[in-house]
């Protein structure tokens, strides 16, 4: 099938290209970028030199495709979506424009009214671990945010245990610099970023809305920039109404993810990699989830680690496409990562 990537010069676009150029069911027919129009793909993504002859074309030259990936900034696809859908293909939007089912959330979290609330009801939130059946029939797939992905996958197994107290769950997330995209402004300069441990969104982060939507929990989210290029580590502090044994947590996480190809439950009793950590996940589509019981504080700690550009964006989008196509979900996503890295 023929694929088009809109906004292909960014980091997420580069990861989509890396994955799709080796995907056995997909041929990348077109990659758009106004800023890089006329230039070879390898100019923006040097790891892809000699892998393709593709040249960026302007957004206006976008042609219909069997599947279109939108790797554009938030707000870039809201208004255009009806026209893109009218071409008849599958659309995977990696921006936030169709992630939230409630249109009233957009003015709160994205400072804009949604111009097509009717499409919010149709869009499927692209997390296969939660919406696999709906993805099989989806026309419009809204690929989740990276921090939201980690937090949702960490927290969801706790919900059916019935042990969570009624107050909010606290989620503390750390993220690498690539989550800010290629043009993060002064905050991304070497002088500002090197050695950073910065609370860039102590409260009010946009992904709060996604996490609440997909878990049904009230969430208090704080986000920090740390010294890394890739990676999200989400540590959730869930307060419980009774002591929870770790065996019970094992059962809950095993029930949720025992058959998932990309979610690994990591909570080991020995060694130096006992809980999830994003470093070893670079370039992979895995989400490692772990947990700990803290009866002293009536607390369960849930932890998830991902590569923000992979399970947090491009890799998860390809997994969604695989689900949609009815082919093995691991197709084109079999990289196991590097160690040491």
């Amino acid at each position: 099938m023929k694929a088009a990537i809109v906004g292909g010069s960014g980091y997420v676009g580069g990861e989509l290209l890396r994955l799709l150029l080796r995907h056995p069911e997909v041929t990348v027919a077109q990659v758009t970028s106004d800023a890089m129009a006329g230039k070879a793909v390898g100019r923006a993504h040097p790891n892809l030199r000699k892998a393709t002859d593709l040249v960026f074309v302007p957004h206006a030259a976008l042609a219909p495709a069997d599947v279109t990936f939108l790797a554009t900034p938030h707000g870039g696809s809201m208004a255009k979506m009806p026209g893109i859908l009218a071409t008849g293909g599958i659309v995977l939007d990696l921006s936030a424009d169709f992630r939230l089912r409630d249109p009233r959330a957009y003015p709160t979290y994205y400072r804009t009214e949604h111009p097509h609330p009717e499409l919010l009801a149709e869009a499927v939130y692209g997390l296969p671990e939660v919406h696999r059946d709906a993805l099989r029939r989806a026309r419009l797939i809204a690929v989740p945010g990276c921090i939201a992905t980690a937090a949702i996958l960490a927290l969801r197994p706790l919900v059916p245990t019935g042990t969570l107290a009624s107050g909010p769950v606290v989620v503390d997330a750390k993220t690498g610099s690539s989550a800010g995209g290629q043009d993060p402004g002064r905050a991304g300069s070497h002088a500002e970023r090197s050695g950073v441990m910065r609370a860039y969104a102590a409260a009010g982060h946009r992904h709060t809305a996604e996490i609440e939507q997909e878990t049904g929990l009230r969430v208090a989210l704080s986000c920090h920039a740390v010294e890394a290029v890739r990676g999200v580590l989400a540590t959730a502090h869930a307060f419980v109404t009774r002591p929870v044994e770790e065996k019970e947590l094992w059962r809950a996480y095993r029930a949720a993810y025992g058959s998932e190809p990309f979610v690994r439950v990591v909570h080991e009793t020995d060694g130096i990699h006992r809980e999830p950590e994003p470093k070893i996940l670079s370039g992979t589509n895995f989400c490692d989830v772990g947990f700990a019981s803290d009866p002293h504080a009536d607390r369960v700690v849930a932890i998830a680690a991902i590569d923000n550009l992979m399970k947090g964006a491009a890799g998860n989008a390809v997994q969604c496409l695989n689900v949609r196509l009815g082919i093995p979900e691991t197709t084109g996503l079999d990289f196991l990562g590097l160690h040491p890295i």
């Binding site: 770790e246 065996k247 094992w250 059962r251 095993r254 439950v265 909570h267 080991e268 009793t269 020995d270």
Partner: protein, 53 residues
């Protein structure tokens, strides 16, 4: 088969012998085969500080 005493994971005997030490496939705990009929396991003793010197 039996269950890991730490995490309740299913542990399969295959051809393990009495006293054999192996890691739990889920939580990584070192388990020792404590009985074969029926198949039972328990956490293996950890090395004391001066072992191996």
């Amino acid at each position: 088969m039996t269950a890991c005493p730490e995490c309740d994971a299913t542990v399969v005997r295959n051809d393990k012998v009495l006293g054999e030490v192996f890691p739990c496939p889920d939580c990584g705990t070192e388990l020792e085969v404590f009985g074969t009929t029926p198949f039972t396991v328990q956490p293996a003793p950890k090395e004391a500080e001066d072992w191996g010197e």
